[in-house]
């Protein structure tokens, strides 16, 4: 397959000719997703993905074009569109040029059976989830995605990669509560509908008939899905070269901005990761330390922000990211040695939170974010879960939440969570016990 894709890349570059710099990415694959709600499959889709992304620079005049046709007419239209647009553009003073030829790490997160998964295999796992929940109503999805990507540019860079990911994600519902279960892996065979359904059902039952709790500051025990949400904001608004360049970021390299138990990196080669080992500009990915023992130690860059800040691209360019800049697709928060039971036992008075919902930033610099809890919240007192609590709204600085002294424990439950906060990549994270979280209102106001 990838040979065919590189051949398309070559045809595109040949049509561009020698008068322009150019880079082209061809992506093909299958994106299949089966949704269920009120305990039946109500939406079930499969998309045969094909996408060609071309960027050209004519003496520093840059333009992009995207198409989904790869026959000669389609290539002709794509190239003409990009070249004509570039010719009319002013010179881009920030144009960093193309990525030089370099090999990418030998990383392939691929499972052949997942790439070929049939709708019946997704339905089978959903059926197991639904049956496991018994009389409880259920909802969620099972997806399989396979993607093969080829990249080429006029500096001779040639790269290819492929990846798969399967996700089973669902809730079970009582009359008064929801409980969720999540699983993600490079392979569909790792996903067990009974297992995920059992967790969701237990959380739904254990959070039923929840009572209100007064807003205020509480310790929190955040599950991996909450931690992914939190890290997404740090990535988008903090460890992002463009945010730093524009003065919008909190990140100050070399300063101990986080608790010493926090070590964070972007690492596509992590054994639990998914994704391909190069970015949208053809820069090979490498492990980028963002926080090392609490000290802010790095940023992610595309070629533009790297040039602006005198750094090197870290291989984190995202196609079409525009003014947002570079983003890590494979954040890994180093796990600790504390089991889930020990994490709960370590909480004096606090809340165990399953998921966050609708988190939105109020101020990028201070990382103050508001959002709500979802799918199960419990009050913990003296190391024991004592009762379920209704959902609450929080307004909390995410940087402050992880500041020195604020992380009480890091869980050993390192988990791949499919679907990062801003839709780029998938993160590997543990649970976190934090000293303080600012809950500013109950679900009823």
């Amino acid at each position: 397959m990838s040979d065919q894709l590189l051949e398309i890349c070559e045809r595109v570059l040949a049509r561009v000719g020698r008068d322009a710099e150019a880079e082209v990415t061809v992506t093909v694959g299958t994106d299949a997703l089966t949704r269920f709600a009120t305990s039946f499959i109500h939406q079930n889709v499969a998309d045969a993905v094909r996408r060609v992304h071309l960027r050209v620079a004519l003496d520093g005049r840059v333009a992009e074009a995207v198409g989904n046709q790869t026959d000669s007419d389609g290539v002709e239209r794509l190239v003409r569109s990009a070249l004509e647009a570039a010719a009319l553009r002013p010179i881009d003073s920030g144009w960093p040029g193309l990525a030089p030829s370099a090999s990418a790490p030998s990383v392939e997160h691929w499972d052949e059976a997942t790439a070929r998964a049939e709708p019946a295999e997704r339905a089978e796992r959903i059926g197991a989830f639904v049956r496991t929940a018994g009389e409880l109503e259920t909802a969620g999805f099972c997806s399989t995605k396979e993607e093969t990507v080829a990249f080429a540019n006029t500096l001779g860079q040639r790269l290819e990669g492929r990846t798969t990911i399967a996700i089973l994600d669902g809730i079970a519902r009582t009359a008064t509560s929801d409980g969720s279960g999540h699983a993600a892996s490079v392979g569909l065979s790792d996903l067990d509908g009974v297992d995920v359904g059992t967790g969701a059902t237990r959380r739904a039952r254990e959070s039923a008939d929840a009572g209100d709790l007064d807003p205020g500051r509480y310790e929190v025990l955040l599950s991996p899905s909450c931690v992914v949400n939190l890290l997404g904001f740090l990535a988008m608004y903090g460890f992002n070269g463009r945010a730093v360049e524009e003065g919008r970021s909190f990140a100050r390299i070399g300063e101990a901005q986080f608790d010493e138990s926090i070590s964070l990196a972007d690492d596509v080669a992590h054994p639990m990761a998914v994704g391909i080992p190069f970015d949208a500009e053809g820069t090979p990915k490498r492990r980028v330390k963002l926080v090392d023992g609490g000290v802010t130690s790095g940023l992610v860059h595309d070629r533009r922000t790297a040039r602006a800040l005198g750094a090197e691209s870290t291989g984190n360019a995202v196609a079409g990211a525009g003014p947002w800049g570079a983003l890590p697709a494979n954040l890994v928060l180093e796990g600790g040695s504390v089991s889930r039971e020990e994490l709960i036992a370590g909480v004096g008075r606090g809340l165990l939170v399953t998921d966050f919902w609708y988190t939105r930033i109020l101020d990028p610099r201070t990382q103050v974010v508001t959002g709500l809890t979802r799918n199960g919240v419990w009050l913990i007192e003296d190391g024991r879960i004592v009762r379920p609590v209704t959902n609450m709204r929080f307004t909390q600085s995410f940087v402050e939440a992880l500041a020195p002294g604020n992380v009480r424990a890091v869980g050993s439950d390192l988990t791949l969570v499919g679907g990062a906060t801003f839709g780029v990549g998938a993160y590997v994270v543990p649970s976190l016990h934090l000293a303080s979280w600012n809950f500013t209102g109950g679900a009823k106001g």
Binding site: Q43, A46, E64, A120, L362, L372, T395
Partner: protein, 480 residues
């Protein structure tokens, strides 16, 4: 193009579907962005393909391909049926789609100036000049951009529909960000999401970005030294029409989507606090509150001739005199809810996305007050506008919204500027406190080009007719 759609439908029926429909979609998108006086991005995207739906028993299947040949269309139709058969293995209640007349028709929106025919150089000059002006007037980061879409659709169904539509949309936005010692402030024009409509480039010309660039940059810088929004448990709040569009979108529009009410989005976008058994009786807001979903409004972003199930666009009452009376629906959700007809609110984002319930133009009907009259009638309160942050719970009940700018109101006069204004509330309690409603001269058809919903994710284009409003007893100034 109809031949491909009909080939796909025939193949789905041959593979066992009892109903099938198909859309061929040919779409162009152009987006340009400028930063600090220079055009930084120009992206042009063209996509064409076909998406097919098939119904077997009560199970749906959807398949799409960008390979537009008769053979591929037939293959997609057969695959949609195979997927529908898998759906039927975990099946739901019996389903008979609500009836809709099988029309053969064509529709196009009114466009005075094709956005794709305006020279790129002219469009680039507009954005670079606007951002340069913002920069010169104090912005640390000045951004401006426009988007234009040209969408052609050909829809055919096993019931005999044959409808083609041509929809052109465009709009623009800009914002100025300033960095203080430990904060950032931003002002946007004309709103955080810009302004978009089913119109041509004339919409962008009317916005007159350059004439507003200096003002928003200066306001952003003034915000750095403005007073913080006070924390008050209950005060009067006047909300400008741009923020009201967001308020309507989040706390009314999503809440009345029938798929959410039926629980179809329970695990992701969420459900709704509304219970169908209360339709026609539940008080959603004060008597002043009248909301419609009307896809026939000329130029509004959520307008079309037919939805993606072939249902003709028509106005639907959502809230009448404060009472909840209607929902946003499609043929299957309406049938399962026991409604007589589809609300014509089903659309898909591209050929490769399953059509689903989306907002059309969900908005407030105007009242009788002007903004100045609202200010004059307020002894002690806060005026705020231009959305900055938005968060609402999964039942669309508990919200907290932030605005870019606010002003104190004392004794009927607009006072000092305040920064970081936020307000929070519970939907029906908040809407119940609505006591002044902007008049027709303030009625603006705001367009939201980025409404996310569904899995795989879909971006919807929705419209929100809106006016400034006054609410009583609102909690403001929630702090982090």
């Amino acid at each position: 193009m109809f031949d491909y759609a009909e080939a796909a439908v025939e193949a789905a029926l041959a593979a066992g579907a009892r109903y099938a429909d198909a859309r061929v979609m040919d779409r162009r998108h152009e987006a340009m962005g400028a930063r600090n006086g220079e055009v930084e991005e120009l992206a042009q995207e063209a996509s064409i393909g076909i998406g097919v739906r098939a119904l077997i028993g009560s199970g749906w299947g959807f398949s799409s391909t960008s390979d537009l040949t008769t053979a591929s269309a037939r293959k997609a139709g057969a695959q949609a049926a195979a997927i529908a058969r898998a759906s039927a293995s975990v099946s739901g209640p019996d389903l008979e789609l609500t009836p809709v007349e099988a029309r053969q028709d064509a529709w196009a929106n009114d466009v005075r100036e094709d956005p794709f025919s305006v020279p790129l150089a002219e469009k680039g000059d507009l954005l670079s000049n606007a951002t340069r002006t913002m920069k010169e007037h104090g912005a640390d980061v000045a951004l401006a951009g426009y988007d234009a879409w040209d969408t052609k659709k050909w829809f055919a169904s096993s019931e005999g529909h044959r409808i083609d539509q041509h929809i052109v949309e465009c709009g623009a936005q800009m914002n100025a960000t300033v960095n203080g010692e430990s904060e950032t402030q931003r002002r946007s024009y004309p709103g955080i999401r810009g302004q978009y409509g089913t119109r041509g480039w004339e919409l962008v010309r009317e916005l007159d970005l350059e004439a507003n660039a200096a003002r928003i940059a200066e306001e952003a810088r003034q915000l750095l030294t403005a007073s913080e929004c006070p924390s008050i448990e209950a005060t009067d709040v006047i909300i400008g029409s741009e923020q009201m569009a967001l308020q309507i979108h989040e706390s009314v529009g999503h809440a009345v989507e029938l798929d959410r009410i039926l629980g179809w989005e329970a695990a992701f976008a969420g459900t709704s606090w509304l219970d169908l058994s209360q339709i026609g009786a539940l008080r959603f807001g004060s008597d002043l509150m009248n909301v419609t979903a009307d896809a026939t409004l000329p130029g509004a972003l959520g307008s079309f001739g037919y939805d993606d199930e072939g249902t003709p666009a028509h106005p639907v009452d959502i809230v009448r005199d404060g009472i909840w009376v209607g929902v946003l629906s499609g043929r299957d959700s309406a049938a399962l809810a026991g409604l007589d007809e589809s609300g014509g609110a089903v659309r898909g984002d591209g050929y490769n996305r399953l059509p689903m319930v989306r907002m059309t133009n969900v908005g407030l009907l105007p009242g009788t007050s002007s903004l100045e009259e609202m200010i004059a009638a307020t002894d002690d309160g806060i005026l705020m506008d231009t959305n900055r942050s938005w968060s609402i719970d999964d039942k669309r009940l508990n919200f907290q919204f932030g605005c870019e700018i606010g002003w104190e109101i004392k004794n009927g006069k607009r006072g000092r500027m305040i920064k970081n204004p936020t307000y929070t509330g519970i939907g029906p309690r908040f809407w119940g406190s609505l006591d002044m409603l902007g008049n027709e001269s303030e009625w603006t058809f705001w367009g939201t080009p980025n409404c996310g919903k569904g899995q795989p994710g879909q971006i919807g284009h929705t419209g929100h007719p809106s006016v400034p409003c006054r609410f009583r007893g609102v909690r403001v100034g929630v702090r982090g």
